[in-house]
Structures are given as structure tokens and as C-alpha cells.
């Protein structure tokens, strides 16, 4: 079998053990913020090297640099011993680096064979020879995919196979898998592992990026752990275990809990239940979410990206619709509710503060004051008057700019002129103006400067102390631990664990979030 792979990729390969990739001190900054910082990484022929880390640890950035999609700010990259400088993905491809994306980079309206050949077409292509070539390639890897089938008709696993075949068609020596098992069934995953083992046997280098730690440990020879853009450790899988890797990932040894910077109100007695979510289901994204939120309490929701947290919040606030049959229930103060649009949720006192403020957070053509005033106008109170009031607008702007400490030259500053932190505060303010009872924050401090993070945390705490039910969705564990009274962990669209403030640690949460 390994011979077949070797044939498929053209035979001549480096001998096992020679260095394919050497990255030294590679740094990438976005607007002064490090995405990855001075990372050393190497890959040798005939190994599978796994990259693990929390959300935002820098795994994707590292892979994108290797694949030529992103240019490093500093540092050197050597492929097979010679220094390279990729300016576009095509350069990386010419050096034999192929990235297998989750399933997104295929052209759905073309057949499998056409996709495999994409970018290598001769001037004139005969369908017959195209299909035969693709058939042979797929066969050599034991992939049962019909080369004449349109990609749009293929399932996730088969698309993945086409992706891999395409990577090998381009004579790749280094194959990067980005979350390859996210959409695969367990059997398909096993099959993928067989393929990866064959690639390794054929002398290729494989980089394996995954949230799923068990998988990485199972398939990889070495594991590199990234945290906050830095390389924490590179270990042989034979000489490590799950506990050690998790310790590296969260960055603290067991036992020492994080410091709480925001004083809580002590152990919260069970207060009035405001929002109750029962068995919420939406397709296969939200599979079974159940939890309750209490007045005067901050409920943190931790979990990996894609575990259905945002979707749950959007169902509650009417932006998404849950399954019509067996979709579960949402109870507000004991009354079942089902919102079609956010307006209805806002009228009932539930607001959702978006995770992507640029996408749907604020109005960029408007000033700070106009943004805040618009929140008021769209609320139940604001809807009473048809005419605008400059006095009311200025009063709201003054009050909330002060309460949220929004720093702008003046209230007439345009939103695009504000820093990320102030934009976030404005987005929060626009919702708080509507006097909600339940506030759902989604990644409240993403892309926010350090000083503002602290202020936003205090604000969240203050809201709970004022008797509101606050839900905070966050992928940043220290944040969840700092501000929450109770922590919920989600995995694959289900709530899988719940911790009180006292018993929660980063390790316990990671354990529950990763399978």
C-alpha cells in the first residue's frame, strides 16, 4: 500500500528523517498584536507532527504561513534546507506544500476528477484520460470515490478524500491537515488515519491540526503545543500523556487556580431563575442544550469554537430558528417563548451582544451618540415617539459614554475612529440602553486592548450585581474563570459539564471541552 502512495506522489522522496520544514523565530503581528511570537517549528520526512492549542493559540496562523497564505512579519522559513520566502499560496505549492482544508476549497459544480486536476489542466483535456487518471490516483489510496461525481453530491468524508487526492496530485511532500475530522464519522476518521499512516510510510511530512487531543496523540509522532501565540513545548507522543499536554495548553500546573481580579459577591445563593433553556436542538449544530440563568449571576459558557454556543444564543434571541419539532423549549420567567426576530426578544428584555462587532455590531456611518440613541429608538421606550430629540440623544450619549468610559474625542466622533475596546463598549452600550433583563455577551473582549478588557469585566460584574441575568460566551478560559459565578462547558452542541465558581479550574474545563 505504501508503494502505491509513493507511486502516486511520484516516487523520488527525501529519505525518512531528513528535515522538510524548519521555522525559526517566526513572528506574525496584526496591527501590533502578536498572532504568533518567535515560534520554532520543524518537520522531518516520514513523521506526523500534531499542532495543538486552545482557540486563538496561533495554530491557523502558523499553517497559513507555511501554506503561503500569510506572510510572516519576522523569522525564517526553510524548506528542505533552502530558505524560502512565500508571497502567495502558489509559491508554497511549488515547494510541495499542500494544505487540506476542512472541505471548503473544492469547486462544488465540478466533478471529483476535475477538482483533482484543477490548476494542472493541459490546454486540451480529454474527459476520458482525466477520469482515468483520477480513478487511478484515488484507487491507489483505496479511496472509493467516483471521479465523475459532482463534488456537491459527495459527503463530507468523500470531499476530504478528494482534497487529499488533489494535494498528492500536486506532488506534495508536506501535507497540512486542518481539523480534518471535524465533519467525519468515527469510521471515516479511522480510514483517514490509515491514509495518514500511509503518507508517513511513503516518506511525506504531515502536519496535523486538531482540537481533538486524543486523535492527535493517537496519530502523531510528535506534538507541539501552542499557547497565546507562543510555542510551549514539543514532545514525543511516546513519552507524554494527555494530562501533560493539557497542562501545557492551559499553562499552569495543577492546583494553582487563576487569580480573580474582579471581586465577586461571594458564594451566590440560588436566586430567581430568569431564563431556562431545555433540550434546545438545531440541526446538528446545537444537539441538546439545557441550562438556566439566574438574576444577579454571571453564567460563563466555555467550549471550543463550533460547539454550538453562539448558535444557542442566537436561537434564544430570535436570530436563528430551532427545529420546529422536538426543538426544545426556552422559558423566560417560566413562560415559554419562541422569537422570530430579535425585536421580540429585545421587547421581552433579552439582548445579544455580537461576537463580531464589525459584522453586525455597530453602525459605521454614525457617531457614538447616534449609535447609542439608535439603541434607545429601537427599544420599547424609544418607540413611543416618532420625532427625534436632540436633547434625549445627548443625554443618552453623555450618560452611557460616562458609564462605559467610552473614550472618544467627543460624542460626535465616528465609530470607525475608535479603538477596538471603545467600539466594543459602544456595541455593549447600544444594547444596555434598551434596559434588558437578560444580557448575553458573545466573546466580549475579542480584539480589545488590555485596559478595556478589565473595564468590560467590571461592567459585566456590575450588571449582575444590579440584578440582571448575565450570560458570557467566551473561548478564553482565564476570562471565563475570572468573571463567572457558574461555568457551563459545551461540546458538539451539548452542555457536558457545569462547575461552580469554587470548583472550576482550567484543567477541568479543558477536560470537559475536549474529548
Amino acid at each position: 500500500m505504501s508503494n502505491a502512495i509513493a507511486d502516486a506522489v511520484g516516487g523520488a522522496l527525501e529519505s525518512t528523517g531528513s528535515a522538510l520544514v524548519e521555522m525559526s523565530s517566526v513572528t506574525k503581528t496584526y496591527r501590533g498584536v502578536h498572532a504568533i511570537h518567535e515560534i520554532d517549528f520543524d518537520l522531518v520526512a516520514g513523521e506526523v507532527h500534531a499542532l495543538v492549542g486552545e482557540n486563538g493559540a496561533g495554530k491557523s496562523t502558523l499553517c497559513k504561513i507555511l501554506a503561503g497564505a500569510v506572510q510572516p512579519s519576522e523569522g525564517q522559513l526553510r524548506i528542505c534546507g533552502s530558505q524560502v520566502n512565500f508571497r502567495r499560496p502558489h509559491d508554497a505549492l511549488e515547494h510541495g506544500i499542500a494544505m487540506v482544508y476542512q472541505e471548503t476549497s473544492l469547486v462544488p459544480t465540478m466533478t471529483a476528477a476535475q477538482n483533482i486536476e484543477l490548476g494542472h489542466e493541459k490546454l486540451l483535456t480529454r474527459f476520458r484520460s482525466l477520469n482515468i487518471g483520477a480513478q487511478q490516483l484515488l484507487q491507489s489510496m483505496n479511496f472509493h470515490v467516483d471521479p465523475t461525481a459532482y463534488v456537491s453530491t459527495l459527503g463530507a468524508a468523500k470531499k476530504q478524500m478528494v482534497e487529499i487526492a488533489r494535494a498528492l496530485r500536486s506532488q506534495a511532500r508536506i501535507v497540512i491537515f486542518d481539523e480534518p475530522t471535524a465533519s467525519l464519522t468515527p469510521e471515516e476518521t479511522l480510514h483517514l488515519f490509515d491514509v495518514i499512516a500511509e503518507l508517513r510510510a511513503a516518506g511525506l511530512g504531515v502536519i496535523y491540526v486538531s482540537h481533538a487531543l486524543e486523535e492527535s496523540l493517537q496519530i502523531a509522532d510528535r506534538v507541539t503545543v501552542l499557547r497565546d501565540g507562543e510555542r510551549v513545548a514539543t514532545v514525543d507522543t511516546a513519552r507524554t500523556n494527555r494530562e501533560e499536554i493539557i497542562r501545557y495548553m492551559v499553562g499552569r500546573s495543577l492546583g494553582s487556580g487563576p487569580e480573580r481580579t474582579v471581586p465577586g459577591t461571594g458564594a451566590p445563593a440560588r436566586k430567581r431563575k430568569v431564563l431556562e433553556v431545555e433540550n434546545l436542538i438545531l440541526g446538528n449544530v446545537v444537539r441538546n442544550m439545557s441550562f438556566s440563568a439566574y438574576a444577579g449571576e454571571v453564567l460563563g459558557i466555555a467550549g471550543l469554537i463550533g460547539s454550538g454556543r453562539t448558535e444557542t444564543a442566537k436561537i434564544i434571541t430570535g436570530m436563528l430558528k430551532r427545529n420546529r419539532i422536538h426543538g426544545g423549549r426556552v422559558l423566560l420567567n417560566g413562560r415559554p417563548v419562541r422569537y422570530r426576530v430579535p425585536k421580540q426578544a429585545i421587547d421581552d428584555g433579552i439582548v445579544y451582544i455580537t461576537e463580531d462587532r464589525k459584522l453586525d455590531g455597530f453602525f459605521e456611518t454614525m457617531t457614538v451618540a447616534e449609535n447609542l440613541y439608535l439603541g434607545h429608538l429601537a427599544s420599547r421606550n424609544g418607540r413611543r415617539s416618532w420625532l427625534l430629540s436632540r436633547r434625549k440623544r445627548e443625554q443618552i450619549a453623555r450618560e452611557w459614554s460616562h458609564r462605559l468610559r467610552i473614550k472618544a474625542i467627543d460624542a460626535d466622533a465616528k465609530v470607525v475612529e475608535l479603538s477596538g475596546g471603545n467600539q466594543q463598549k459602544l456595541t455593549v452600550g447600544k444594547s444596555l440602553v434598551q434596559e434588558p433583563e437578560v444580557v448575553i455577551f458573545d466573546e466580549p473582549t475579542r480584539g480589545v486592548d488590555v485596559g478595556a478588557i478589565e473595564e468590560i469585566h467590571q461592567l459585566i460584574r456590575q450588571l449582575a450585581d444590579d440584578g440582571k441575568a448575565v450570560i458570557v460566551i467566551s473561548s478564553y478560559l482565564p476570562e471565563v474563570l475570572t468573571i463567572s459565578d457558574r461555568i457551563l462547558v459545551t461540546r458538539f452542541g451539548r452542555t457536558v459539564a457545569e462547575f461552580s465558581r469554587e470548583e472550576a479550574t482550567q484543567e477541568k474545563i479543558m477536560y470537559a471541552a475536549i474529548f
Partner: protein, 332 residues
């Protein structure tokens, strides 16, 4: 990160708003035409100029309402033409003028409702939805209710004639109607809650929905309002030429309307510009059209000029309001 970053602020000439640039161009053209063209700076010609562009300006205001909300109404001229023709045809019978006008109003209302429904609820892009609905309404009207190509306004309908040909204190009524419509629209857009919502909708529909604005019903209202203003423009046209030739629907009027709106600085991105932009655009196009007529240019030569101006305006719009602001995102 600093509190304020100035990276979005364009520099130099681009610091001026588009209306200001356009008004300056109008002024320059005015001077050039005044010096070079015989008979341009006569009272008669100037009154004529303003009168002739008034209906275009009214239609421009109508279009502006939907474009500010990041929409587009290519059926504007069709619904205006059909509604006006229907109203005039009723006036040819014994129906009273108010009744005929109400029926016309009903036609544009239904048209706006239909467009809004297609765009907001069926979720067809506005460009194509209104392209299709315009064809549909004109075809339906011609095959059922309308008797001929031209609806002749009976001589005894003083109100409509007055709209097109009357004068108050020497000022032609079409100009007054344009001013009234512009003032009303400006007031509505800048001083009322629905006006704010229209801007919010055009700026960022997703954020508008999240903030609690009922975006779908609002879309429908926008198209109904736009069609209603268009109907006013249709009546002015009918009054000034004594009837309505429905062939105008097949003509290039809709492009002139778009030209007026885009040239003035109402960005197709939405949420930007005001009625003042329409006034500036109308002034420019009015002066251009008048000058070209005096120069004896034929329609094809005029089309070249209009096409170039539209392209220039679109390029400027693109420079001032890039559609895809570069958003650098960190991977995970």
C-alpha cells in the same frame, strides 16, 4: 492601540463630501456655459432648466429613499408611469380628480408592497426583484386596463395641469413641488425615528436587526414610500406635457434617475448621503442636459456624456466608500 486612529480618514480633495465636489463642478459648468453658450444665461432658459429637471429631481428623491437603505428600485419609472396613466384614464371618465388620484396612489402602494415583499420576505436581490416587477406591472397594465400608448389629460383637470404648468408668484409650480418633496423627505430622513431606521438599515442590515429594528416590514415601507414620491413626480410630468406617454417606461429615464442619485453622493453601499445629494446631482444633470441641448448634441452623444459621468461617480463612490473594508482577522 491608541484611542483614536485616523487611518480611515481620506486626505486632500477626498476630504470634501461628494455633494460639495458636485456643487463645485456645477458652479464651474455654470460659469463655462454662461460665457461660452449664447442664450444660456437668459431668465427664460434658466426657468426652463429648473422646470425640466424638477420631475427628474422628484424621482431622484424617491430613488434616494431606497438607495440610502441599501436598496434599488428599477421599477420606479414603471410604477410611476402606470399609476399616472391609470389616474389620467380615470379622469377621462366622470370620476372626480381626488378619486382618480387615490386610485393612482393605490397602484403605487400595491407596487411598493409587492417589491418590499419580494425583497424582504422572498429575499430576492433588490436589483433583480424590481427589474422583474417593473416589467410585470407595465405588461399587465398595457394588456388589461390601459387603452393606448398615450394617456391624454383632459383639459378640465385643472389641478394636474396646475402641477405641471402653474406658477405661484412667478415661480413655476414643478419647482415648488420639487422643493416641497425634498424638504419633506429631508425632514423625514433626518428628524424622525423611521428616517433613522432607514439609515441604520442601509448602513448595516445585520446590526439593525440585532438592535431590534423590524427590518423586513421596514423594507416594505421604504419601497412604498419611494413609489408614492415617484407618483408625485409622474403627476408633475403629466401636468407639464398634458398627458403621459407610457413609452417613457421603456426609455432611459430610469438611468437618468440613478445618475442623479449616484452623482450626488448617495452611495450604493447604503447609509450615506442625504436629499441634498439629490439636489446637487439634479443641478449637475440639469445644467449638463440644458447645455448639451443648446449645443445641439443628439441623444447618443448625450448618452456618452451621461455614461461617462455615471462611471466617474461610481469610481468616486468606490474610492470614498470601499465596499469591503479590509478586516484583518486573527486565525485560531
Amino acid at each position: 492601540m491608541s484611542t483614536v486612529s485616523a487611518r480611515f480618514r481620506p486626505s486632500g480633495l477626498l476630504r470634501m463630501s461628494q455633494e460639495q465636489i458636485v456643487l463645485m463642478v456645477v458652479l464651474a459648468l455654470f460659469v463655462v456655459f454662461g460665457v461660452l453658450l449664447d442664450g444660456f444665461l437668459t431668465t427664460n432658459n434658466l426657468l426652463n432648466l429648473v422646470r425640466s429637471v424638477s420631475s427628474l429631481g422628484i424621482l431622484g428623491v424617491a430613488m434616494a429613499v431606497v438607495v440610502i437603505a441599501r436598496g434599488m428600485d428599477l421599477s420606479l419609472v414603471a410604477s410611476m408611469g402606470v399609476a399616472t396613466a391609470v389616474a389620467i384614464q380615470l379622469m377621462q371618465t366622470t370620476a372626480s380628480t381626488p378619486v382618480a388620484l387615490l386610485v393612482g396612489l393605490g397602484v403605487v402602494m400595491i407596487m411598493g408592497l409587492f417589491n418590499g415583499f419580494l425583497i424582504a420576505f422572498v429575499e430576492i436581490p433588490a436589483l433583480f426583484a424590481t427589474l422583474a416587477s417593473g416589467l410585470l406591472v407595465y405588461g399587465l397594465a398595457r394588456t388589461t386596463v390601459l387603452n393606448g400608448l398615450i394617456a391624454q389629460l383632459p383639459g378640465d383637470r385643472d389641478f394636474v395641469s396646475w402641477l405641471g404648468q402653474g406658477a405661484v408668484l412667478g415661480v413655476p409650480v414643478p419647482i415648488l413641488v420639487f422643493v416641497a418633496v425634498a424638504l419633506f423627505a429631508q425632514w423625514m430622513l433626518s428628524r424622525t425615528r423611521p428616517g433613522r431606521f432607514i439609515y441604520a438599515h442601509g448602513d448595516n442590515a445585520g446590526a439593525a436587526a440585532l438592535t431590534g429594528i423590524p427590518v423586513r416590514p421596514f423594507t416594505t415601507l421604504e419601497y412604498m414610500l419611494s413609489a408614492t414620491i415617484g407618483f408625485v413626480g409622474g403627476l408633475v410630468v403629466a401636468g407639464s406635457v398634458g398627458g403621459l406617454n407610457t413609452q417613457v417606461i421603456d426609455g432611459t429615464l430610469i438611468y437618468d434617475v440613478l445618475l442623479v442619485v449616484v452623482v450626488g453622493g448617495i452611495s450604493l453601499v447604503g447609509g450615506r448621503g442625504s436629499v441634498l445629494s439629490v439636489v446637487a446631482g439634479t443641478a449637475l444633470i440639469g445644467v449638463m442636459l440644458n447645455g448639451m441641448t443648446i449645443l445641439n448634441m443628439n441623444t447618443h452623444e448625450q448618452d456618452i456624456v451621461k455614461g461617462l459621468i455615471l462611471l466617474g461617480a461610481l469610481i468616486l463612490d468606490n474610492r470614498l466608500h470601499p465596499r469591503d473594508e479590509e478586516t484583518v482577522r486573527q486565525g485560531d
